[in-house]
């Protein structure tokens, strides 16, 4: 296990170097290990903000990297490696939530209520605090809009990068984010 200091200075391979090593039979496993170490935290938090619960996030993150491994031969380098991984993570997240909502529908419950109850256990702030109210307000947005909001607001990603990940136009993303902000402010001001 790496110490905090070692982690802080841990050098990761550049993406281009990773891509080259992933292409080699002898170096693929090592490169993949490096890829996971490089991107696991970012992907984890991207997923965790959507699925709320750590165990669910763990399942989704593992699926993401397994899919990355299985589809390495399909990576055409027409996008950044990070964008490609993020795109797989985004799709896995949305599919996971869609599946959960479908199962919830069968039991005549709303998965949104399930996420709210998971939120109470998953956050380290008081329920009265504004950050908790914000998280609950976010759960009222459609999943894809919530995801775009997370990437823009919390991760401070550029619209061009979000567009590449979600394969949506920059204009649509700006509109989506603007509406999300308005809706959240309405909810928070109403409470």
């Amino acid at each position: 296990m790496l110490s905090k200091e070692a982690k802080a200075t841990e050098r990761y391979l550049e993406d281009q170097e990773l891509i080259e090593k992933l292409a080699g039979d002898d170096t693929r496993n090592f490169a993949f290990n490096q890829l996971v170490r490089k991107y696991q935290e970012r992907i984890y938090w991207h997923v965790r903000k959507m699925v709320i619960d750590h165990d669910d996030a763990d399942d989704v993150v593992q699926e993401v990297f397994i899919k990355v491994w299985k589809n390495l031969h399909r990576f055409r380098q027409d996008s950044q490696l990070y964008t490609w991984i993020y795109r797989i993570a985004t799709n896995e997240c949305l599919n996971f939530l869609k599946k959960k909502r479908r199962v919830s529908l069968l039991s005549l419950s709303d998965y949104q209520d399930v996420l709210i109850s998971k939120l109470d256990l998953a956050v380290q702030v008081d329920g009265d605090m504004i950050e908790m109210k914000l998280q609950k307000a976010l759960l009222k947005l459609p999943d894809k809009q919530r995801m775009v909001f997370n990437m823009k607001y919390f991760d401070d990603m550029k619209y061009q990068d979000i567009a590449a990940i979600t394969e949506t136009s920059v204009g649509s993303l700006k509109a989506s984010y603007h509406h999300a902000v308005k809706k959240i402010e309405e909810i928070l001001n109403h409470d």
Binding site: F32, Q40, D58, V61, Q135, F154, E185
Partner: protein, 150 residues
Amino acid sequence: MKKFRLEDLEKRQVFNKPPAGYFDRLPGIIQAKTAHQAGKTGRWASWVWALRLAPVAAMLVIIALYSGMFQQQLDDPGFEEILSQVTSEEIILYLEELDISNDEILEEVDLKALSLELEQMHDPLMDNLEIQDESLIQLYEDFDLQDGLL
């Protein structure tokens, strides 16, 4: 009352951290799963190929059986073909063995209908034959057909 604006809010990470050592263990867990997938894929692939090829193999067997049966059918000549291979002499010999008289053969023939049919036929050969009645009568007598025709 001042309206709340999102841009005024300080961005904070509110979620609980994952368990200690989670990110140290995760790469190993993932690589173990990908290695297991690769092993499974090897065995799975051979099963998948076996399942995919099974219907094809079954079709080939059916086609081979059908072809064999069809060929056998082709090899078995039809009744007419069998008959065409039999010579006229063999037919006559057969009939002689059966000891069927001319009368018995003629009993099977509708002579009146045959006569009408012959009359209606305009065979140039027959029309130009110019057979005299006396010759015809002689012919009838020779083959003993007189009673049947008249």
